[in-house]
């Protein structure tokens, strides 16, 4: 382990040089707007929170041929960083989160969290699924305390933390409701509280706001940003919406379509808080979208088997 950590800390400054938006000490440039990420559990900031090296994933299709879903993914995420991953549907971005969460096993390559190899699921990394996966047989409060219960945390502490996390997402008065009695946006917040309640260092979010109306989504963007700066968690956020990625991320990684590769990484140097309809956000989105469009066209060609190049407008993918 120590050699691993050593190697990585040696590699890391190189990655930092690529993305000049973030200074080597890991703090964001816009002092005063965002709380600087605090070092968690005294781990040196030089060690990436999450390091993916040469991740490949292949699977056998029904016709028996081997398909490559992820192709040598290399990504490093600093402690307290908000990384967004964008890509056309089918690029394997959700799968990548599942791998980091330890729910699936990559074919080759290494996933390190705090310099340690990921082996199976762990509550240091919690994934918020696209479909949420809230337990319908439990109340909102019971959902939130589930992870703590599995950890064997005592009842009194569980109650207290459940209350405080529900307060964090403004759902205190819905503690005893069932999840199907809530609106989509509220369910999102329950999932967020449930994930936070296990106190993970890394929060993995899989297109969490894709199914929501624009107003609810805007509100949740604000809340997520607030919670992120209050709790100092590292977040890896997958979305197909480029503007959303720029609205939230410190950095945006663009994946290619089948097999998924990291095409480019874009640092986001805009002051927070940002708004989706902000000119600067739109401008930054333009650059990423130009590259994303190629991938979307490629995916359309494959999936619809057509040669035409549909014109994709900014925001049309929302």
């Amino acid at each position: 382990m120590s050699t691993n950590a050593h190697n990585l800390s040696a590699q890391f400054p190189i990655a930092v040089d690529h993305h000049s938006s973030v200074r080597a000490d890991g703090s964001r440039g816009k002092a005063g707007l965002v709380t600087a990420p605090r070092p968690i559990r005294g781990i040196s900031l030089a060690v990436p929170k999450v390091a993916l090296s040469d991740i490949c994933l292949s699977y056998r299709s029904q016709s028996g041929e081997r398909l490559l879903a992820l192709d040598h993914i290399n990504l490093q995420v600093k402690p307290g960083e908000f990384l967004c991953i964008v890509g056309p549907s089918g690029c394997g971005k959700s799968t990548l989160l599942h791998l980091i969460a330890g729910l699936h096993q990559q074919t080759s390559g290494q996933i390190l969290v705090d310099g340690k190899n990921v082996q199976g699921p762990g509550t240091d990394r919690i994934l918020i699924f696209q479909e949420l996966g809230l337990f319908p047989w439990l109340t909102v409060g019971q959902n939130v305390e589930f992870g703590m219960k599995m950890k064997g945390i005592g009842k009194a502490e569980r109650e207290e933390k459940t209350q405080s996390y529900l307060r964090l997402v403004h759902l205190s008065q819905f503690k005893d409701s069932y999840t199907h009695q809530l609106s989509g946006g509220m369910r999102q917040r329950v999932a967020l509280a449930r994930a936070l309640a296990t106190e993970p260092d890394v929060l993995l979010m899989d297109e969490p706001f894709a199914a929501l109306d624009a107003q609810t989504r805007d509100l949740l963007h604000d809340e997520l940003e607030r919670i992120w700066s209050e709790t100092g968690r590292t977040i890896i956020f997958v979305t197909h919406n480029v503007r959303e990625a720029i609205r939230l991320g410190d950095r945006v990684a663009l994946l290619t379509f089948r097999p998924g590769r990291v095409k480019r990484e874009f640092p986001v140097n805009l002051p927070r808080p940002r708004a989706l309809e902000d000119v600067h956000v739109a401008h930054a989105a333009r650059e990423i979208l130009d590259e994303l469009r190629e991938e979307i066209n490629r995916s359309l060609e494959v999936e619809f088997n057509v040669g035409v190049k549909p014109h994709v407008e900014i925001g049309a993918e929302q």
């Binding site: 599942h98 969460a101 729910l103 199976g120 699921p121 762990g122 509550t123 919690i126 994934l127 699924f129 479909e131 996966g133 809230l134 337990f135 319908p136 047989w137 589930f146 992870g147 219960k149 599995m150 950890k151 069932y178 999840t179 199907h180 009695q181 449930r194 296990t198």
Partner: protein, 253 residues
């Protein structure tokens, strides 16, 4: 209200036909009893407590047997659902065994356990275990995969995962199987009791046969139907409704 009226008309008609046939005296009364003869037999049976005792004994047996089936079936079903090997081997065997009436186990059970309660219990378990197992397996497969992943993601594993996630997640899918298992358990019990002369509803029914008392036989048949119906229509219906409400599934009407 309309439904109640229709039911009333139907059952009144049924009773009418029965009374008419009995009154025509085509068959002697000991072969074809009148409705009030059956009513008297029911009253007499409850009056001398013999029916109450029989019901208590039968219920106790079926509950024990059914409980064993449910516990065993859950683990068996889970095993079959989660292991490819077990599914291919055990799964096929279980399905084929389901075509075997549980009373066929009677001779073997008699040899193994002697003429005792355990013989009856064994037949009851064999009657309902397969339904419960297959229901559990089916429920595990129908259950959305997301719950298992979410559970593991939140730190549950092994028995914890089964008890707190997989089992509750598959409950709405296994109730119908549990219900079917109950029906099989109840039928197997009555059949076994008819062969084993020691209390229970099946034995009271056979006693009626031995005494050529068809009124008593029909009275017991009505009791068996009534108990089966009440458990099915009241216990399982309300369980289903409760699950559907709690799980937020729309009740299928």
């Amino acid at each position: 209200m309309k439904r109640a009226a229709r039911l009333l008309v139907f059952y009144a008609g049924l009773l009418g036909v029965w009374t008419l046939l009995a009154e025509l005296k085509i068959w002697p009364p000991y072969l074809f009893p009148t409705p009030w003869g059956v009513g008297e037999a029911l009253y007499a049976g409850f009056q001398d407590h013999s029916f109450l005792i029989a019901i208590a004994v039968s219920m106790r047996r079926v509950l024990i047997g059914y409980a064993i089936s449910v516990v065993l079936g859950m683990f068996l079903g889970l095993g079959v659902a989660s292991s490819k090997f077990l599914e291919e081997t055990m799964g096929g065997l279980l399905v084929s065994l389901q075509s075997l009436p549980s009373i066929c186990w009677w001779p073997l059970a008699l040899l193994w356990f002697g003429l005792s309660q355990n013989t009856i219990l064994f037949v009851v378990v064999m009657g309902s275990l397969l339904s419960v197992t297959l229901a559990m397996e089916d429920g595990r497969k129908q259950m959305p995969k997301i719950y298992g992943m979410a559970g593991r993601n939140l730190g549950a594993s092994g028995f914890q995962l089964f008890w707190h996630v997989l089992l509750p997640a598959s409950l709405p899918f296994i109730v119908s199987g549990l219900k079917q298992g109950w029906a099989f358990a109840w039928r197997s019990l009555i059949t076994a009791e008819m062969l084993y002369l020691s209390l229970g509803l099946g034995q009271v029914l056979m006693m009626g046969r031995d005494l050529n008392d068809m009124s008593a036989v029909i009275a017991v048949m009505i009791l068996i139907i009534a108990i089966g119906y009440v458990v099915d229509g009241v216990v399982f219906k309300s369980m289903e409704r409760h699950l559907q409400n709690k799980w937020g599934l729309t009740p299928s009407t």
